[in-house]
Amino acid sequence: MSGGVDMGEGKDYNHNRATDCATAVARVRDQLTDRDKEQFMDKFILNVIHRPEMVPEYSATVTGQGKEEDIGDKVLIGESLDIFKTQQRLAHENGLKVTIQMTYASLFNDEAVEIAKHDHDEFGDEIALSLLGLPCEQFREKYKTKDFCIWMFSMEDKKKIVRDVFGKFRERFGFYPESTGSYYMDADLINFIKAEYPMVKCAVATCWEEGPKAYHTCNNSWYTLFDGGPWAPWIPSKQNTHAPAANREEDSGIVAIPHLSRDLIACYDGNGSNFGTHPQNVLRGMIYDTKTWEFPYLYNLIDQYRDLEKYNNGYAYNMMFVGPGWMNKAGRWEQPYELLYKSYSDGCKYYGDLKKQGKLIDMTMSEFADHYREKKGVNGGNYNEPECALWRDILYGSDKQLFWYCDPYMRACVNMDQGGAIVDLRPYAAKLEWPVGIGTKHVQDASYPFLIQEKYRAGYFTHYAGAGTVRSAKLKYKGEEVDLCLTPTHAHFSEEEINGKKNRIITLDPVTIEFRDLTLKLQTKEYFEEGSSNIRIERNILEMSDPSAEVIIDEYMTACYGTTEYPEDMTGITLKAVGDSTESIDYEYRCRDAKVENVKEVSATIPAIETFVSMTTDAAAAGYIEEGYAFSPMFKLGITKKISDKEVFSTWLNLAKAN
């Protein structure tokens, strides 16, 4: 039996791991045509994952409504296995290989184990192990709890459960799995698994933006709060799963993949569970024609992900992972079984057709982990290649566009509909250690904290008073003021080497600002220098109706910190402005401000999230800092300067770990 690595008792794993990686890569390449081999590194990669879940999620609350709970219900187990078999058949009929993530419950089921062995031999499916699907009679009996989310257990229980589940897997298959996963895998859990089972190289480790919005959609009963992570595969750092590793020392040893590939506008704005590469999630969002049962949105979503190869050196990725609860014979919400079945069948066919056309390569998770490390340059020692996504609205009919950027130092979202304002910012540079689960300060909240989040802390627009979080600029002329947030535009992506360093650049279409006595045209460019932990924003005054006019530009960042919609305690934050003089404010909600000429740096130190954020410029300018107040628990950093026609003005936003 192959498909995993028999590590004996887990010894001598360094040698085996290297051999194993090479074998997996060779296995993928052997299956490719010559033409595909030439283009191996420039393809759309797909991971399809199935899990035989003997007691599917929702079975108690949805399909079992009105019945007394029976976790050992033989009928339910039989139905669940039938759904798994159907999913396997649909994938294989379309020529797609699958990663079968065995659940703990399924390891007690001989038929599920035999199907996995058969499909591994017949179709090349990988037999992996999920930490989802824990609930079953055996688990309840042993652990005396109804908890089922691995990241929320105490560390002691996490260890016990992992050893139990991995041990059971080895007992059934004769080897340990190379891939695992859950909805979320906290850093301590990943580190433990990697230490105990070093052959594990890939894991499903987060659901993108599944935080307060998902919680809200489920009537505040879905306790999975993990906003702030990457939307595409990454290598988690040992310190924090969401924050990618910056170097070999931080490398957790696994490649993480997100649970589903999600719409980078719709999920940011609304419920994540409606807008992903999960056909039944699209139905959940009611994004289908009730007469024809067609759902072009799913294909638009897949195609937009394919299009992201333009921004990522020819690499694009999708993950589809539908749990059996979503193909229930009793139907799901408004959708009868026939529609649920059709959606999964059509989804598999769409991917399968792309594969037939040579536009897609299906991989198992462990194969993908090897591919990813090679493609991203990690094997060559570079952990800094970012993930970029210039994403447009494909659902609501607007022409809104966002740019998402993720590297080991930050995740940032730039909103072109607000003139290139940064509307979401996660300071990964802090590599914040944030244990989660019972016995920690964060039992449920695994989100990576933000400095800026326009949905949870307003943005440009606020009600009545105060300010929301955003990084933007204002132009002022003769008593009038215009914020660039009110200048919708679009952006174009490019890569350029500047001073020997790679930069990803978005160049926004010029916008026109109209004052009473002056019209000017301004263009914004934003530079993300690889491995630098800063963002340079450049404003270029292309023309002015009065070439002799001088306008004041106020580059500012209004920020705070948090993970949810509710405010945090701002005391402890220190604001500092350094220039001709040095000014400092310890945050006390007293609405104070300070200004310096010839600014070198304005900054905020936020001990609660071990983050230092600053703004700098290479021009002669003034800097200011502003403390907020109780009704507006924010701080503001800003740099102001007079600018004139044809002038270019740059400022940098810098992130670092606060000591």
């Binding site: 949805v62 409504q65 009105g66 919005k213 809200h216 959609t217 489920c218 009537n219 609304g270 419920n271 959940r284 009611m286 994004i287 289908y288 024609d289 009730t290 067609e294 072009p296 949105y297 294909y299 638009n300 195609d303 937009q304 299009d307 333009k310 009793a330 139907g331 799901r332 919400w333 408004e334 959708q335 009868p336 210039l390 994403w391 447009r392 609205d393 494909i394 659902l395 609501y396 009919g397 607007s398 022409d399 566009q401 679009h490 952006a491 174009h492 992506f493 279409d509």
Partner: protein, 72 residues
């Protein structure tokens, strides 16, 4: 009044759905009315299905197939 249960399909409250809430409705087999236990919505199956069509209004591009994803 009769005890509430589930109908033939598990309809969600369309009014709550419009505010991004997935709430199952419960069915009164005597009156044929689905009702939300969180908000004040109630309606027959026909009314629920009609409301669900209204919900889709926000998806202005739901029927559109895109072949270009940038503005270059």
């Amino acid at each position: 009044m009769a005890q509430l249960g589930k109908g033939k399909l598990n309809y969600r409250c369309p009014s709550c759905f419009m505010r991004d809430l997935d709430i199952d409705m419960f069915y009164n087999k005597d009156t044929g009315i689905y009702s939300c236990i969180r908000c004040q919505y109630r309606g027959t199956e026909k009314e629920v299905l009609e409301f669900n069509e209204l919900v889709r209004i926000r998806y202005g591009a739901m029927h559109k197939r895109f072949d270009k994803f940038d503005f270059d």
